[in-house]
Amino acid sequence: MRVLVVEDEAALRETLKNRLAASGFTVDVAADGNEGLFAGQENALDVAIIDLGLPGLAGLEVIRRLRAARKTYPILILTARDNWQDKVEGLQAGADDYVAKPFHFEEVLARLQALLRRAGGWASPQLKCGPIVLDTRAQTITVQDASVELTTFEYRILEHLMLRAGEVVSKAELTERLYDQDFERDSNVIEVLMGRLRRKLDPQDQLRPIETLRGRGYRFALARDAAS
């Protein structure tokens, strides 16, 4: 998952970046409104965290312009003012949720995951597709009730595919969301990861959870459980 953090306070920005990265996100950062708007428009993001009190371009304006530019990923507002007028304005501008400063990092994380889940059409934090269950909060995978150990990158790929289960996800998109900008994109590391993931999830080659569509990308092929 690739997240953009737009926050002018350097210490807070760095802390958020480090802790989000530790939680499995690929993190872009911006220190002011203009930088944030640029990053928000140019990078392939899954979610953005935007502080309302930004120098340069105000946070509200950044959100408005991103929405005007047809960026549909969820946006989480950070605000120090914590009044309803700001919340109403922020959400009217196009944000999806807010967190008041000072926040617990765990709360930010929980809200980000909830936003991502909802953006993918999932109601519960447990993504269930037949025998494969991914818990976004605990970041655990079970296949037919048996726990499966995944590496960070394997987990990120699976989470991304499962959040958008049924849709085609291109290789370029996966690369962008897994790695920072300077990653060398031509490498076949995605294919290698995908092979390992398939073997771990489906050692008997019976379930075939991940399809490869030649030239287009990958698709999580198991149907979502109706209840989730």
Partner: protein, 472 residues
Amino acid sequence: MGAATVSRWRATRRPRVTPAPLKRHTVHSLSRRLLVSVSVPLALFFGVMMLVLDSGFRALSERSLQEVLDSQMVSLIAAAEPQPNGGYAPVPHALDPRLATPRSGLYAEIRSQRHQWRSPSSAGLDADFGTLLPSGERNLSYASFGHDRVAIESRAIQFEDDPNGTRGLTFSVAVSLSPYEEQLWRFRQELIGWFIALMLILLVTLAALLRWVLAPVRRMQREIYEVEGGVSEKLGTGYPRELSGVATNLNALLLGERKRVARYRDTLGNLAHSLKTPLAVMRASLPGGEAGATIGAEIDRMSGIIAHQLKRAAASGGALLGAAPVEVAQLAAELRATLLKVYAGKDLAIELAVAPEAQFIGDRSDLTELMGNLLDNACKWCRSRVRLGAAPVYGAGPRERLSLVVEDDGPGISEQDRARVGQRGVRADENVPGHGLGLAMVHDTVELYGGRLVIDTSPLGGARFSLRLPGR
């Protein structure tokens, strides 16, 4: 404190009487004072004038009466001739014809010790002209001849050729007073009629003048009402010189107050930002373990106090005169949309039953905070239903004309916790389990506006917050 707080708190929260907006027609109105103070001396002046004119008229009529009496006396004396019987009587053709007509109002008598002549006009009347006078004397008296009041002039005369020697004659002439009295009454009636008419005309003119003169004052009064009621933002222009200063200064005050509150809020917002960002940095970079947990708890406490006190300070409490009334329906719809987004992960419905004419008189952000906190709280605790009702209450006190009800189908609030909601302002760090600072904020704001807040159980099953606020 505890449950007892609720009842005491409710008991003191009776409908408050507003600092009375100026009434339009009090006894102390300027125009009434002026009218009263002018009409009293006016009545006094007219009364004295009437007395003076009346006595003048009476003097005049008395003199004319005297003249009539004198001239009749002179002609009676001149016409008196001795009679064969030794008495005196006037020569008939020299007499005033009225003396010959019965009850004509003019009567005469010539009397000596032994003889008496009376004019034919007094025939049949119980006439008493008085006693004989000593020679040379004269006398004016009043008497009644039957029903007729008369003035009698008597004169005692000694004729030099009097055959009776020293014997004197008393001549009397009586004139009826009724024509004079009638005239006096008519005069008085006319006088009173004119004076009353004149006074009424004067007072009406004065009242009309006052109306015209005081029209700008009334206009100012009306415009102040409008500002109070939020119909307009400030007083208009075009006041006369004496009042334009007042109007300008009042406008400056209103504007200054609004700007002051806006600047104040801005400052508070900046303060919140600059206090909370470092707290956020601290919180985010805490070390793990026990030390981190302790510091984290303290940071939470600090930020709770900061949030609460800053919000408290930012609530204007309706000090904003002239702010436009807030449309509750519009605000409710905005908050509903916001909350549905925030609680998108929860399967809930927010029902709005807001009368389109419901308006809040006060500050928009105060109401936004109030409703936001209540609805947020309801959304947090409900199972699936939240209901917001708002309607104007006609006939309620001016500070209770808007009714707001927020209810949900959650677990509700226990009696004990209901009471603590009111205490929260004092101990911002002491949490009622599950009910954040928002409710304390709601309580404070309602109190600032002089409204009412009652917490009980909703028919939906959860908590119900019923508020009364200034509105219409």
